[in-house]
């Protein structure tokens, strides 16, 4: 109501015209409506999620009082309710986001409840991974028919869980490759959403869930060559970081840019274990295994490297080298270090230098962009590097102590200077 009073005052004083006042009123009314709608969608999905999960838990009780035939009939009840809601939504409430998201969420979970009840009644063989695989396969079309974001998110969570069950457990499971097919199956939906509304709020979740799922599941591809698999992760994080810095995502808030956060953080974190000499000793022992060059891991590494190079070339069109985040180009330098590391122990020193350079460049970027977060992120990288070296016994206590003092002083100085700079600008 406050704005109405202000607008009246401004129109009375002839600061703005009546027409402008009306436009402002309409703008805020629309915005309020949008917020209300968003809230309705969020609570609708939350409600459907809780009810759906509740049904699954009730089903998991395994009701022995009921006959087998009664239990099998009950298996279809949640499914039927979910389908009726989805049917009503599709043909009567197609424009209501809250109806679409809640009914799709409920049906998604009802499918799980239904197959889990049948599995219990007949003690059907199979572990959690085969159960999740069946569930996700049946639920996949829901994403496209209902055009539901919530269903897409539940699906990504489901297939990631499946990948962990099938790929990281001890059992030999021929199913683990299914994850990649299932992930590809959700890509068209993702692309459609990006094309139709690139700045949409709901996309924030997909921008996090999708890359996170990839990071979690990529390790399932690793079988025999642990050390060289590090490169795969370095390249994946590089791809993510560059993708997040491309114009289509860069304009979003950092918190909404899962690719950038995961990519930048991931590629730096990956380098830390490599700053210890033991990693390189293993690498030098392993690389003579000729089987490595024909393995799926090796081919995947090359493909990811080429993708990262292509993305970097795209990024170069919108950013100069000195404006780029270190996580965008770091993979190129690291590839050279890795190749040297196959033969020479000097790679460990080079990795440390690369990490130091990453920290320093990030600090400078933060100062240049007047971004305190980025500046401190750079300082944290340097601090972490110093802490890692703290555990290396071959450095003298005096040197280690001095390093800590210098970095600590750097923290104070950099933040102080930045805040002073801001104050001068404000004046």
């Amino acid at each position: 109501m406050g704005i109405q009073k202000d607008l009246k005052e401004l129109t009375d004083a002839n600061v703005i015209s009546a027409e402008i006042a009306e436009n402002i009123t309409r703008y805020y009314a629309g915005k309020a409506g949008n917020n209300q709608n968003r809230l309705l969608v969020a609570f609708g999905v939350l409600g459907a999620l809780l009810v759906g999960l509740g049904v699954i838990l009730i089903v998991a009780h395994n009701w022995d009082e009921f006959e087998r035939s009664t239990k099998t009939c009950f298996a279809f009840l949640p499914l039927l309710i979910g389908q009726v809601f989805c049917f009503y939504t599709l043909f009567r409430k197609r424009d209501s986001a809250s109806w679409i998201e809640s009914s799709a969420t409920f049906l998604f979970l009802a499918i799980g409840a239904s197959i889990s009840l049948v599995s219990q009644v007949y003690h059907i063989e199979g572990n959690l991974s085969s159960f999740l695989l069946t569930w996700m396969l049946i639920a996949l079309p829901l994403i496209y028919i209902m055009k539901s974001q919530a269903a897409a998110m539940l699906y990504i969570v489901g297939i990631t869980w499946f990948a962990c069950e099938a790929g990281y457990s001890n059992h030999r499971s021929p199913q683990e490759m299914w994850y990649w097919i299932l992930l590809l199956a959700v890509v068209p939906h993702y692309v459609m959403k990006i094309k139709s509304n690139p700045d949409g709020n709901a996309l924030v979740f997909l921008h996090w869930f999708f890359p996170l799922s990839l990071v979690i599941s990529l390790g399932t591809l690793e079988h025999d060559f642990n050390e060289s698999f590090t490169l795969v992760f370095i390249f994946l994080f590089a791809c993510m970081s560059i993708l997040g810095d491309l114009p289509w995502l860069q304009r979003r808030h950092t918190a909404a840019n899962g690719y950038l956060v995961l990519g930048s953080f991931g590629s730096t974190v990956m380098l830390f274990p490599l700053s210890f000499a033991s990693f390189w000793e293993e690498i030098r022992r392993d690389h003579f295994d000729l089987n490595m060059y024909s393995s799926a891991e090796f081919i995947g590494t090359i493909l990811l490297f080429l993708t990262a190079c292509y993305l970097l070339w795209r990024l170069k069109r919108s950013q100069a080298w000195n404006e780029m985040r270190p996580s965008s180009w770091m993979f190129l330098v690291f590839t050279i270090i890795f190749l040297i590391g196959l033969y020479e122990p000097i790679a460990v020193v080079l990795t440390n230098l690369l990490l130091l350079a990453t920290g320093v460049v990030t600090v400078f970027l933060g100062a240049k962009r007047n971004h305190l977060g980025l500046l401190n992120y750079g300082l944290i990288i340097i601090t972490a590097l110093v802490i890692c070296r703290f555990f290396d016994t071959d450095l003298s206590f005096v040197i280690r102590g001095l390093l800590f003092v210098i970095v600590g002083a750097g923290f104070f100085a950099a933040n102080y200077l930045m805040i002073q700079k801001r104050k001068t600008h404000e004046k």
């Binding site: 009701w63 889990s116 049948v118 009644v121 007949y122 959690l128 159960f131």
Partner: protein, 195 residues
């Protein structure tokens, strides 16, 4: 209008698939129970749980290896077929192993190979023999929450008594199996946990 029609058909197809999958699971199992042969397998139950499907008894089987008569087991093999015979006490024991289904029937069962390959050497009647170990495709018996625990206790109590016997009742047809009950000394484990 055309779009609506396509949506209608697509939705109907999705509904059909969502019904077909659980329904086919039910029909397939009912068929095995009705037309398959019922076998008894010696077991050792314990009590874990599954996030979605609740409490179950994990069954372990005494006779889960068979003499290896195969030349080689290809590395990407995940399933094998075994032929079952009944011992003098009426319990099922594996007698032969096959890479492919040797022909449908009530005595052929599809089993899973463990991740480590399944080949072991074992002393049988004092002679070392190469054998194939496998996992039966019915190792979980789902029970009502609260009953699986007492069922395990009932099992443990009876295990002290060497004359006591636990077994799983399984219907088998054309390589597929449906577990219908777990018995301790002739009594269903569900009834025992009620006592």
């Amino acid at each position: 209008m055309k779009n609506k029609k396509i949506l209608w058909i697509a939705f109907a197809a999705v509904v059909l698939v969502q019904w077909y999958v659980p329904a086919s699971m039910i029909f397939e199992r009912e068929h095995i129970i009705k037309y398959g042969k019922e076998w008894k397998f010696n077991t050792e139950p314990v009590d874990p749980n599954d996030v979605f499907r609740g409490k179950y008894i994990q069954l372990r089987f005494s006779d889960s290896d068979v003499k290896n008569t195969l030349d080689t087991i290809p590395e990407d093999t995940h399933e094998l077929y075994i032929r079952l015979v009944e011992d003098t006490n009426g319990f099922a024991i594996p007698s032969e192993v096959f890479l492919e289904n040797p022909g449908n029937g009530e005595d052929i069962l599809r089993v899973n190979i463990p991740y480590w390959g399944g080949s072991i050497n074992k002393l049988v009647d004092g002679v070392e023999e190469e054998r194939v170990t496998f996992d039966y495709p019915f190792e979980r018996f789902y029970m009502e929450e609260g009953k699986a625990g007492p069922a395990e206790t009932a099992y443990n109590e009876r295990r002290v008594d060497t004359l006591s016997q636990t077994w799983a009742v399984v219907s088998i047809l054309n390589g597929n199996a449906v577990l219908s009950d777990v018995m301790i000394d002739g009594k269903s484990v569900t009834e025992l946990s009620d006592e």
